[in-house]
């Protein structure tokens, strides 16, 4: 079997590694002494890094497509019978390949940053490239050494076991991991600019603006990744939920929370020149937490402390985390003080005051989730005892914090800077408050007495109404064209409002799908029926389908409303060749008003055990999440104003 592809993949990773080292050296040298480095060399180096990433990823995918079992990664995750689509996605189905994807994304971001560094005089930019080079050195280093997926097998197997069954079952495997990585890896860029600014001892608005733009891009991708991940687990795992407070999920949520705090406090620095040190802390913490999250999920330390040292990837990631944390915060401690903003907010009753409340809530939220996630690991490491921290703990902490955040979200964007008087707030919030309390009163009169639902309904309607009022008041003429022009001209603000609208939708979907959920477990003989959520369910038959890589057995459950057949749910069991355990796949019937979720508890020829769930407004969770991500992208979509100003300055200079 050909060894060309493994060799090419490894060469690509080595090229990336070499380019990263060179980029780190050149970048820092250029920052220290701009005259010593030519601009073209920086750029070429960044492109070499990207080329290395592309080459190793292409070799990996090529080897998977050509069933090249001489490559260790292919032997580990591939099987000849896997369909084309899942063959491609198995490029990131396991550790080695996912690190290759990481390096590719990182190299891509580096190339983008390099494009924006227009001359070596941009010392903030060249320093950031140096930091990207250091991070690239670490990850390309992982791929070429301890996590090398390109090892050539001395005795290649004839066929492999294939990827984890859960990773070759659903189309989402093609979208969720790349999206998540675009978010996770993207936080390297704000980190790089922050470190570069600290090295330069140059605070101010430049590093912040560039960190904020990059942070927004990464944050929007991570938002999308989180929502797609929740959706995927809802569609596939079959326990009827979308979020289990599992360490893997928390690892992605924690940096998201801190990055959200940064996006908000960055506004305060831009608008009021405050919180610069705090912004450094948030940016450094976000990046460090992405590394910690990767360590937690990739070293399997959360399963058991003892599996930590099975591969060298875990210790390497932990070491890098300590390095980032130690290095970053040492530099900050040395330089941060002198860059601290001098001005202080004057009163709590002001926009910056609400921003601070938001930051306090978000960072406490992140800290509590982090503590709950690593606590079992620490206890096991210290005492050897095994403890669990699960949903009851996280819910108890998360619910009040989230309610506080919703409240701040409803008030903050409409509070004036510096000093908000009661009179101004009453003028701005009177209509929203009336709308919100009407909605809450209407819910109560309609018979909904759950305090959580009524409170969330109140907060959500209030915040949406305040946004609409703001739009109506700000727009010069009540015409669609004028509204569109306003939304386009103030993208940061209205992007934020779009994201808030998405958060409102998400909050409503979460609370209604949990408070009004219906659950039942029924056992049906063939031909028998049961009632659930206003439908009659009949177990008609089972069917067995032989596919190339699996045997799929589905149960036909006919849902009737009266005598009318409204849906045939087909939950199934997939038995993959070479895997002992069959994997269940639920059948979800999504709708605007409710989802009906049918999962198999047990399946025999003549008898089936079904777990049934009805979730009102569930689909709105995904729609709301998409709105949040869209808001982030909208905020960053305008051209940076700097360019137009530079262009204007050039025009002036030429004239």
């Amino acid at each position: 079997m050909s060894t060309v592809l493994p060799a090419a993949g490894w060469s690509g990773a080595m090229l990336g590694l070499a380019a990263s080292i060179v980029l780190a050296l050149l970048g820092f040298r250029a920052q220290r002494n701009p005259g010593r480095v030519r601009h073209a060399r920086l750029r070429v180096t960044a492109w070499c890094m990207f080329g290395g990433g592309v080459l190793s990823m292409s070799a990996l995918v090529g080897a998977l497509l050509t069933d090249n079992f001489a490559m260790s990664y292919v032997a580990e995750v591939h099987s000849r019978s896997t369909p084309l689509f899942f063959t491609i996605t198995s490029a990131w189905a396991s550790l080695g390949g996912s690190l290759v994807l990481w390096t590719l994304v990182l190299a891509g971001y580096t190339a983008v940053v390099a494009r924006q560094v227009r001359s070596v005089e941009d010392r903030l930019g060249t320093g950031a490239l140096g930091v990207m080079g250091v991070v690239g050195t670490f990850f390309f280093g992982l791929v070429t050494t301890v996590a090398n997926p390109f090892t050539i097998m001395a005795n290649p197997p004839a066929d492999g076991p294939g990827a984890n069954p859960l990773l070759r079952d659903h189309i989402m495997v093609a979208f969720h991991p790349p999206m998540l990585y675009l978010g996770f890896v993207g936080f390297t860029v704000p980190f790089a600019f922050a470190m570069s600014a600290l090295l330069l001892r140059r605070g101010g608005v430049d590093w912040l603006r560039r960190s904020r733009r990059a942070g927004l891009v990464a944050w929007s991708f991570l938002t999308g990744g989180l929502v797609l991940g929740a959706w995927w687990s809802y569609e596939v795992l079959g326990w009827g939920g979308y979020w289990a407070w599992d360490p893997v999920e928390n690892a992605a949520l924690i940096p998201w929370l801190v990055a959200t705090a940064f996006l908000h406090s960055a506004v305060v620095q831009v608008k009021r020149g405050m919180l610069q040190s705090w912004n450094f802390v948030l940016v450094l913490a976000t990046f460090a937490l992405t590394i910690l999250g990767t360590f937690l999920t990739r070293s399997s330390v959360v399963v058991s402390v003892h599996s930590f040292s099975q591969s060298a990837v875990g210790p390497a990631l932990l070491g890098f985390f300590v390095l980032v944390l130690g290095g970053g915060f040492t530099l900050f401690a040395l330089r941060g003080e002198r860059m601290a903003s001098q001005s202080r907010p004057e009163r709590l009753a002001s926009r910056e005051g609400v921003f601070l409340v938001n930051n306090l809530l978000l960072t406490v939220f992140a800290f509590v989730v982090l503590t709950g996630t690593v606590y079992p690991v620490l206890v096991e490491a210290v005492t050897g005892a095994q403890v669990s921290v699960g949903r009851p703990f996280f819910d108890r902490m998360a619910v009040p914090l989230s309610l506080g955040l919703l409240l701040a979200m409803g008030i903050g964007p409409f509070t004036p800077y510096r000093h908000a008087t009661l009179g101004v707030m009453w003028t701005r919030l009177r209509v929203p408050l009336l709308t919100a309390s009407s909605a809450a009163a209407a819910m109560v009169l309609a018979g909904v007495r759950d305090p959580g639902v009524v409170l969330v309904m109140f907060l959500v309607t209030g915040s949406v109404a305040a946004t609409v009022r703001q739009l109506v008041v700000t727009v010069p003429q009540p015409r669609p064209a004028a509204v569109w022009r306003l939304l386009r001209s103030q993208r940061a603000y209205w992007g934020g409002q779009l994201a808030h609208l998405g958060v409102a939708v998400v909050a409503l979907a979460i609370v209604s799908s949990s408070a009004f959920a219906q659950r039942a477990t029924v056992t049906l003989d063939r031909g028998a029926s049961a009632e659930f959520a206003g439908y009659s369910l009949t177990f008609e038959k089972t069917e067995r389908h032989e596919l190339s890589d699996r045997t799929s057995t589905d149960a036909h459950i006919v849902l009737r409303q009266g005598d009318r057949v409204v849906r045939v749910a087909e939950p199934r069991l997939n038995a993959f060749a070479g895997r002992p355990q069959a994997v269940g796949q639920p059948s979800v019937w999504p709708g605007a008003a409710q989802d009906v979720y049918v999962a198999l508890g047990a399946l025999e020829d003549d008898r089936v055990v079904l777990n049934l769930y009805r979730y009102p407004l569930m689909s709105w969770l995904w729609a709301g999440g998409a709105l949040v991500a869209a808001g982030g992208f909208w905020a960053v979509s305008g051209r940076p104003r700097r360019k137009t100003e530079e262009a204007a300055a050039e025009v002036v200079a030429r004239a």
């Binding site: 101010g204 608005v205 603006r209 326990w239 289990a244 506004v267 831009v270 608008k271 001098q342 202080r344 009163r347 709590l348 005051g353 601070l356 409340v357 306090l360 960072t363 406490v364 800290f367 503590t371 709950g372 606590y375 206890v379 005492t383 005892a385 095994q386 403890v387 669990s388 921290v389 699960g390 949903r391 009851p392 703990f393 902490m397 009177r430 009336l434 309390s437 809450a440 009163a441 819910m443 109560v444 009169l445 007495r449 759950d450 305090p451 009524v454 103030q490 993208r491 940061a492 603000y493 408070a515 659950r519 999962a599 198999l600 508890g601 305008g638 940076p640 104003r641 700097r642 100003e645």
Partner: protein, 159 residues
């Protein structure tokens, strides 16, 4: 300028609406509680590990759910049922970490963080910075800042 009657009117309406909502919730409040389901949510499934026995479709979880129901039917209290599972499976089975023993520190750390964050915040806002004469350094900084403002580009983001 709006007439005061409208302001008073909308204030009154707001109070009435809020009163309806609050009283409605207070009178009919609370979800119908399913004791078995609440207990099941606090117990970790030994097979799938990531979810509680309430959510897990595994046979083991089903058997454990049956035990929960049997014990409720036998009239045992929540604590007795939880202790029964802890004795059989160890502290690992409790998804809701108790405020004692090896999970006490978790609660202490979390609550201390919440408390210290809030304290820091409150102190920061109640402490008024005493006004002082600007030093030469301050004046230089102001001059530099003014210079920077003249040079810098306004960032996007508005009202």
């Amino acid at each position: 300028m709006r007439r005061p009657s409208i302001r008073w009117g909308s204030g009154l309406l707001l109070v009435v609406l809020l009163a309806v909502a609050v009283i409605g919730v207070a009178v009919g409040g609370g979800r119908a509680t399913d004791r078995a389901y609440e207990l099941e949510q606090r117990l970790r499934c030994p097979v799938c590990k990531s979810v509680s026995i309430a959510d897990s479709p595994s046979d083991t979880a089903q058997a454990m759910r049956q035990v929960v129901r049997d014990q409720i039917a036998a009239g045992r209290t929540d604590d007795q049922i939880i202790d029964h599972f802890r004795a059989r499976y160890g502290g690992w089975v409790l998804l809701d970490p108790p405020m004692s023993g090896s999970t006490l520190a978790l609660w202490i750390v979390s609550l201390v963080v919440v408390a210290s964050g809030t304290t820091w915040f409150v102190l920061r806002w109640t402490r008024r910075p005493e006004p002082r004469e600007p030093s030469t350094e301050d004046r230089e900084m102001v001059a530099a800042a003014l210079e920077e403002i003249r040079m810098r580009d306004p960032i996007e983001e508005q009202p």
